[in-house]
């Protein structure tokens, strides 16, 4: 068979040759596939937002902003106010973060810097396994083991010691916001730990050496170099944990008590947006009720987006402050 081109080299200069080379190397198909994937992500997010918006038109028109600020949720009288659920979601998630962040960073420091070699890999794997436990199992264990054995006694102690603080008002319930927060903390701990550990391990050796050569103790190296330089990565880990906490449904539903209680007490039952949707979607029989639940979904979606954006902004500012342009 005769080649249409006498010389391979010459063909590189011709238009068809150049196109062929470009095509053969896969630049065009690759670029197209990647662009498509990127656009798809945007389209999906926008489509979810649009659908939630479009299918919640009835309660939005009927209640307006009052949907967010009132606390009566009465499907029989067609009154829908989401405030207790919004507060419940944010309160449990933030409390879970407050508990999980120090623990997660501590474990990550141990894994990355202090643990003996033989312990690092097994412990790291165990923590990653914790993230793979299905959330319904966490819920079940929370309800039958963790609440009676840990949360209830802890609640009693807190109440008897700090009963003057509204946060620890009685009576002490088992299923409560405290229980939900603690279960959430345990569930997001592996995420925060694993990501933070990887961030710590990515610290260039030259940086820790610089600190040690100046006479830093291990603690000083960790506190003055490792953690400050890993801040943006730690924030990323926290965002991931927060995302999981905000949306976590079944485990929270099983341990929070599902009562739209507006008291400040952590020892009382609460209710979250995700739990509400899970509990009521099957019994929502009329259009306004269904759409009210969809609007709850919209609110949860927007809160998640907003918190993510705020956290991204933080990461970006911190990163800029520390690297000073060139890095």
């Amino acid at each position: 068979m005769q080649s249409p081109r006498p010389s391979g080299l010459k063909s590189l200069g011709s238009t068809t040759g150049r196109f062929r080379r470009w095509w053969n190397h896969g630049d065009l198909p690759f670029r197209a596939a990647i662009a498509l994937a990127g656009i798809l992500v945007l389209v999906i997010v926008l489509a979810i937002g649009r659908e939630l918006w479009a299918h919640s038109i009835l309660p939005r028109e009927k209640f307006g902003l009052a949907f967010l600020t009132t606390s009566t949720w009465d499907p029989v009288r067609q009154q829908f106010g989401a405030l207790p659920f919004i507060i419940g979601t944010i309160e449990t998630s933030v409390l879970a973060l407050i508990m999980a962040i120090p623990a997660g960073i501590g474990v990550a420091i141990f894994l990355a810097e202090l643990a003996p070699d033989w312990l690092r890999a097994p412990l790291g794997t165990l923590i990653e396994l914790l993230a793979a436990v299905p959330s319904v199992v966490f819920g079940l264990w929370g309800l039958f083991v963790f609440i009676p054995d840990v949360v209830k006694p802890l609640g009693n102690t807190l109440h008897s010691a700090f009963s003057f603080v509204p946060l620890f008002d009685g009576p002490v319930y088992g299923p409560s916001r405290l229980a939900a927060s603690m279960i959430l903390a345990i569930m997001i701990l592996p995420t925060i730990t694993a990501v933070t550990r990887d961030v710590f391990l990515a610290l260039p050796r030259t940086q820790s050496e610089a600190a040690f050569a100046l006479g830093a103790t291990r603690w000083e190296m960790i506190a003055r170099v490792l953690v400050p330089q890993s801040l943006s990565g730690i924030l990323g880990a926290v965002i991931l944990g927060l995302g999981r906490a905000l949306g976590e449904t079944i485990a929270v539903t099983m341990v929070i008590g599902n009562n739209p209680d507006l008291s400040a007490s952590l020892l009382h039952p609460g209710y979250t947006m995700a739990s509400l949707i899970a509990n009521e979607f099957s019994e929502a029989t009329n259009e306004t009720y269904v759409q009210a639940l969809i609007e709850i979904g919209l609110v949860l979606f927007v809160i998640t987006l907003l918190l993510n954006m705020i956290a991204r902004l933080l990461v970006w500012r911190v990163a800029r402050r520390f690297t000073g342009g060139t890095a």
Binding site: A210, A213, L214, T323, G324, T326, A327
Partner: protein
């Protein structure tokens, strides 16, 4: 500072064999030799940065003011504060120029702003960097050029007022102009400190050092000092054939 009978092992491999070396005050000692002969390893035993090498051990003594820095009662943190180190690649912290220099003093518990300001200025002047950065102390150390970053690292080291400064090929990542600035600086630093420099660059050793130690690997691939003496004599009248071969470029 004196090194006496020092052996260093990675696992079962003896990387350095029986090194004896004197670092007199206010002198620059250069350690030269081919790649892999243990120059950097030797340097790192002098401030116990070698402690971080896994499965390594050493025997012998490194005396600082007559005291063995590997002695059981010695605080390694204290050793590193008295023996500063500058690395091959500039490694400033991603902090401001000021905070880079103030890093060590802050660890010593110096909080007073005036004291810190004084130390920072003195150290930056000592590292011949003050005039270039005095109006931008709040800017990131990483925004400086490579040569400036290395002088910042020197300033950071001398802020601790060490007795000895160790330099591990401090100019090998720099261009010739930046290199000559570092060399000028080293001659000034000699007034106040003892300096040990590891270098690949024999011209550099010749230009700046008072004494030179030539290291080589022996038949067991272990590093040892072949010859040590005043730089002028090592380069003009080496006593050993190996040294002569190396400095005349016949190998290495």
């Amino acid at each position: 500072m004196q090194v006496r009978g020092l052996n260093f092992y990675y696992g079962n491999v003896r990387a350095i064999t029986d090194v004896n070396l004197d670092v007199p005050e206010h002198r620059i000692v250069a350690i030269i030799g081919p790649s892999g002969c243990g120059k950097s390893t030797l340097l790192r035993t002098l401030n116990r940065m070698s402690d971080f090498v896994r499965r390594s051990r050493m025997d012998g003594e490194v005396l600082l003011d007559g005291e063995n820095i590997y002695g059981t009662t010695v605080d390694v943190v204290d050793v590193r504060r008295r023996v500063g180190m500058v690395f091959q690649r500039p490694n400033p912290f991603p902090k401001s120029i000021y905070e880079n220099v103030a890093f060590g003093p802050r660890m010593l518990g110096i909080r007073n702003r005036g004291d810190l300001d004084g130390i920072v200025e003195r150290s930056l002047r000592g590292a011949a960097l003050w005039n270039e950065v005095c109006d931008k102390l709040k800017e990131s150390g990483l925004a400086l050029s490579g040569g400036q970053q290395q002088r910042l690292c020197i300033a950071r080291a001398i802020a601790m007022e060490p007795e000895v400064i160790l330099m591990d090929e401090p100019a090998s990542a720099l261009d010739p102009v930046a290199t000559s600035k570092i060399e000028d600086l080293m001659r000034e630093l000699r007034e106040s400190y003892s300096i040990v420099i590891v270098t690949h660059n024999m011209q550099q050793a010749m230009r700046i050092s008072d004494d030179t130690a030539f290291m080589n690997v022996n038949s067991q691939r272990s590093g040892h000092i072949v010859e040590v003496g005043p730089t002028k004599r090592i380069f003009t009248d080496p006593q050993q054939k190996e040294t002569e071969d190396y400095i005349t470029g016949r190998f290495g």
